[in-house]
Amino acid sequence: MSRRNRGIGLKAYGFLVYFFLYFPLIVVLLFSFSPTKTIVGISGFTLKWYQELFRDQNLLAAFLHTISIGAAAVGIAVVLGMAGAFFVSRVHFPGKSVFRTLVLLPYILPGILMGISLLVVIKALNIPLSPLTVLLGHVSFTVPVVMFQIMSRIARMGPNYQSAAMDLGANPVQTFWYVTLPMIRTALIGASLLAFTVSFDEIVISYFLTGTWMTLPVYIYGMMRYGLSPKVYAISAIILCLSLALVMLMSRYTGRSADVYRVRSRQD
């Protein structure tokens, strides 16, 4: 009896947590299809906010900006993050363990701090604000994200596979191409997706480093100054779905390497 009660309590508690987390999202999703402008009293179904959305040239431009900043930032992060991860795991230097633990710092630090710091440097160097400065801001936190993921994968993998490849006649380039890269592939994909997701809805740093060239979150933030337009609901709903898709894709790749191989092998 009491055991069943405890079960019910736990279930109710769990439900409340999820309800609390997802209720606002569901509300936004619902209202994006609501014909009335007000929050209360939904009646009917409409796609007009979505249509309006696609007529808003500025918004579409901002969306494209976000996508291209994300893609560029991920591209740079993969190259720099991977190089950095290999450097840290292969080369011994003083303060290495401190560096290892601090690698994620630029990502964890409040965006406002990173934003202001970068702005100060950019201003001091007399660089005008442009898409490039926004990109710089995004690179500052996507590189640590990728680097951290690759570092943990390399640590789990151990150096023996590389030794074995070299021992069997593979030069360093072949070792990287045929052994190392395939073994970190899933981590690389997962890290890229994560970095892209983070970049996609980053606002604080972008806000500091952008001029008139706006990313989507910055643009939405601007829109909100004129009140909560249902258009904001619509764009939020789209972002929600995109993020969901990315997260689901990501969860396929960020598991432990052995698990990933086991999943693949069963499909063979």
Partner: protein
């Protein structure tokens, strides 16, 4: 031209800062030889192997493969392969692709490699597993695939780092035979790392016994077993009694020492220089060479009190007290006399031919068989 050696080490040393992993290693390993590196954990076996493979650069000395100094040659241009203790099979490649790997690196296509892959798979008795991934194989199977992968391009030598270490006792025994047969069939030089003395003794043509980076002895299993060069080798291989004795003035050819009032002659002594009378020595005899209540005549006979009897299946181990020192003797279960009990007197017989004297200074190097590193 003289027959060149497969591998030659000349004064090889490896140190990381203050840590000396290997020092003054000199050896010539013949083609087709089964050569073992034997020693307790941390004695420098893996380091030696990695230097030969090119994965580690020696601090000093020369390494010659088939007559050529390879110290500056990277691992991928050395004609030797390593079988790692954890096998290091590439998890993203099937068995087939794993074995193809060394051939692929030489520009041989999978279809051209097919016959050679089939041949090594047959050699290790693993036909039909081509499409499996390494994680779908058992430990012993992985071990054989790792072996096949290292053999497929016919290297000059194979370096095996405790390849059976991860296998259970029965499987180990079976794999020892498989390995030895393969080595005989392909005729490739094997350098085999182990800390298991039985494995080394049964499989090897020659053994190098190491401790703390130093080579104590290089020799055939028989030489290592019956004529150990140092007290450490004597203690590491087999079961050995070490008794404290005092050097006596030799009467005749053989060196002599006194243990608990008894005089012992030894057929061998590694003590150099002119020994002073009364110097301390280690008197050493194998447990299975101590005769207990034997009718056969022995050179020395002493009485000892039985302190402990341990039944071990095929034999009994008897521990006796000899003037305050422990002497262990192994008696086969067939010859066992049930009248021997704890507290009774046993007649212990020793032959001079089985006794060796070592310098007292080597006592600190002895590893007791009870605490032997596993």
């Amino acid at each position: 031209m003289a027959e060149e050696n497969a591998i030659e080490l000349r004064g090889v040393k490896k140190a990381w800062g203050d840590v000396v992993a290997v020092q003054s290693f000199d050896v010539e390993i013949r083609k087709g030889e089964f050569f073992s590196l034997l020693g307790p954990s941390g004695c420098g076996k893996t380091t030696t192997l990695r230097m030969i493979a090119g994965l580690e650069e020696p601090t000093e000395g020369q390494i010659l493969l088939e007559g050529h100094d390879v110290v500056r040659v990277p691992p991928y241009r050395r004609n030797v392969h390593t079988v790692f203790q954890d096998y290091a099979l590439f998890p993203h490649m099937t068995v087939n692709k794993n074995i193809w790997f060394p051939l692929k690196m030489r520009g041989i296509s999978l279809s051209d490699a097919g016959q050679r892959i089939d041949r090594v798979l047959r050699l290790v008795n693993m036909e039909g597993y081509e499409r499996r991934l390494p994680q779908q194989l058992s430990g012993g199977q992985r071990q054989r695939i790792a072996l096949a992968r290292s053999l497929v391009d016919e290297p000059a030598a194979l370096l095996l780092d405790e390849p059976l270490g991860a296998l259970d006792f029965k499987l180990r025994g079976a794999m020892q035979k498989v390995l030895k047969d393969i080595q005989r069939n392909v005729g490739i030089t094997f350098i085999y790392v182990t800390h298991d003395q039985t494995e080394a003794l049964t499989m090897s043509d020659r053994i190098a016994v190491m401790k703390s980076g130093r080579v104590h002895q290089i020799g055939t299993p028989d030489e290592i077993y019956s004529r150990p060069a140092t007290a450490f080798v004597a203690s590491f291989i087999g079961e050995m009694n070490f008794l404290h004795g005092r050097r006596l003035q030799a009467q005749g050819e053989m060196p002599q020492a006194e243990v608990g009032g008894h005089r012992f002659r030894a057929s061998r002594s590694t003590i150099t220089g002119t020994p002073g009378s009364g110097d301390e020595v280690l008197v050493c005899i194998r447990t299975e060479r101590v005769q207990v209540n034997s009718h056969r005549g022995t050179d020395h006979e002493v009485e000892g009190t039985v302190r402990r009897i341990v039944y071990r299946g095929t034999d009994y181990e008897l521990t006796c007290d000899l003037a305050g020192q422990e002497v262990r003797a192994v008696v086969s279960a067939v010859d066992w006399n049930p009248e021997l009990r704890v507290g009774t007197q046993a007649r212990l017989g020793f032959n001079a031919a089985d006794i060796t004297f070592f310098p007292q200074a080597e006592e600190k190097e002895i590893v007791q068989y009870t605490t032997e590193a596993v």
